[in-house]
Amino acid sequence: MPATRIVVPAKAKKGEIVEIKTIINHPQETGFRHDNVGRPIPRDIITRFTCTYAGEEVFRMDLFTGVAANPFVGFTTIATETGDLVFEWTDQHGAVTREQTRLTVT
């Protein structure tokens, strides 16, 4: 499973806007490159990233070949209740990478 990094505060006040930043180790291979003997390197990209918060989807990103390697995204969500933030990256083959972290809301 590719390495991921999630940057999110562990705690937030109710109503506060929380900044979430995630990055996944993935070449996001475009399919337009060739190796050093001229063979095309096949396309291999992450196509979707979602964040659900206490079971409800609060953010979604559709990725194409124009997203840089090791796809990074920063987005926001309102702290509503203590709950799990679940992050899922799906690649073009349907393989899913899943990470989870708990947000405590006071």
Binding site: A3, T4, I23, N25, P27, A68, N70, F72, G74
Partner: protein, 283 residues
């Protein structure tokens, strides 16, 4: 400034040997001085960039790239630092020892990276940080070796060097390290490749000037392993040095080669006092 492709000149004044009569005079002077404080003179080799003129590589990249480096929440190199942290705590080898088993937390190695490369008397060779990690893994953990440029070695190197982020580069070049320093310095000043360029010509004499659109840096190695936008991934100093050799169309030494480690020691001395920036972000 275009890359030079004119026929080889006789060499610029900094690297040209004196004429024979002058050479005799220099030899006599050296002999005279050697009876006095030659050791004092040899201890401090001449610096080609004054300490007050030292500039990190981050001053030669765009503000956006600098921003990516400075903000650790968006610095892509931190992905490897975090991976390194996981590997640090992962047991390996027949006795299931992790790095943590001996060292404790990674922060226990704060300051260590600033002193590398260093001469290990017991092993009888110069080690850079990668070599030290490889040696620890082979000897202390008896675990499978980590290849140069592997994701695992990059992650562990990034983790350890990151512990020294902000601390000044401070390598030792005296005693048994001195021959390696001299070899590194010689390589740095040696013209090579089809373009017949020495490191010194770009990074000592032409730093700040433009090579096409890019501004040439002073060639310091304070931020490695780096996230290089060109590579689209994290990479080691030796990978970057190999790219430089390719840039002047010279045959690069393999990663981990003693010539490159010696050069690394010279670079460390050259950057003395500059803060470590690992993981740096470069173009």
């Amino acid at each position: 400034m275009l890359l030079p492709c004119h026929p080889r000149e006789s060499g610029d004044p900094a690297t040209r040997l004196p004429l024979p009569p002058m050479r005799i005079a220099w030899a006599l002077l050296a002999a005279v001085l050697s009876t006095f404080a030659l050791r004092a003179l040899a201890q401090e080799p001449p610096r080609t960039i004054a300490p007050s003129d030292l500039r990190s590589g981050k001053e030669f990249v765009s503000p956006e790239t600098r921003g990516q480096q400075d903000d650790l929440t968006i610095n892509p190199g931190m992905l490897w630092v975090e991976q390194g942290d996981k590997l640090w705590r992962t047991p390996a080898g027949p006795e299931a020892k992790s790095c943590a088993s001996c060292h404790g937390a990674p922060s226990a190695l704060k300051g260590a990276a600033a002193r590398y490369p260093l001469y290990d008397a017991r092993l009888g060779r110069l080690l850079n940080l990668e070599a030290r990690i490889q040696q620890c893994r082979a000897e202390r953990q008896q675990a499978t070796p980590l290849a140069y440029e592997s994701q695992e070695l990059l992650a562990l190197t990034a983790l350890v060097a990151h512990q020294s982020r902000g601390l000044p580069m401070s390598v030792a070049i005296d005693g048994p390290a001195r021959p390696f320093f001299d070899a590194g310095r010689a390589l740095y000043h040696q013209r090579q490749g089809q373009l017949d360029l020495a490191c010194a010509q770009c990074h000592d004499q032409s730093w700040g000037k433009r090579l096409r659109v890019e501004r040439i840096s002073q060639g310091h190695a304070t931020g490695f392993p780096i996230y290089r936008l060109e590579w689209q991934t994290l990479g080691s100093l030796h990978r970057r040095l190999r790219a430089c050799f390719q840039g002047v169309r010279a045959e690069p030494y393999p990663s981990g080669a003693p010539e490159l480690v010696a050069l690394e020691l010279y670079l460390g001395w050259r950057a003395q006092g500059l803060p470590i920036e690992t993981p740096a972000v470069r173009r």
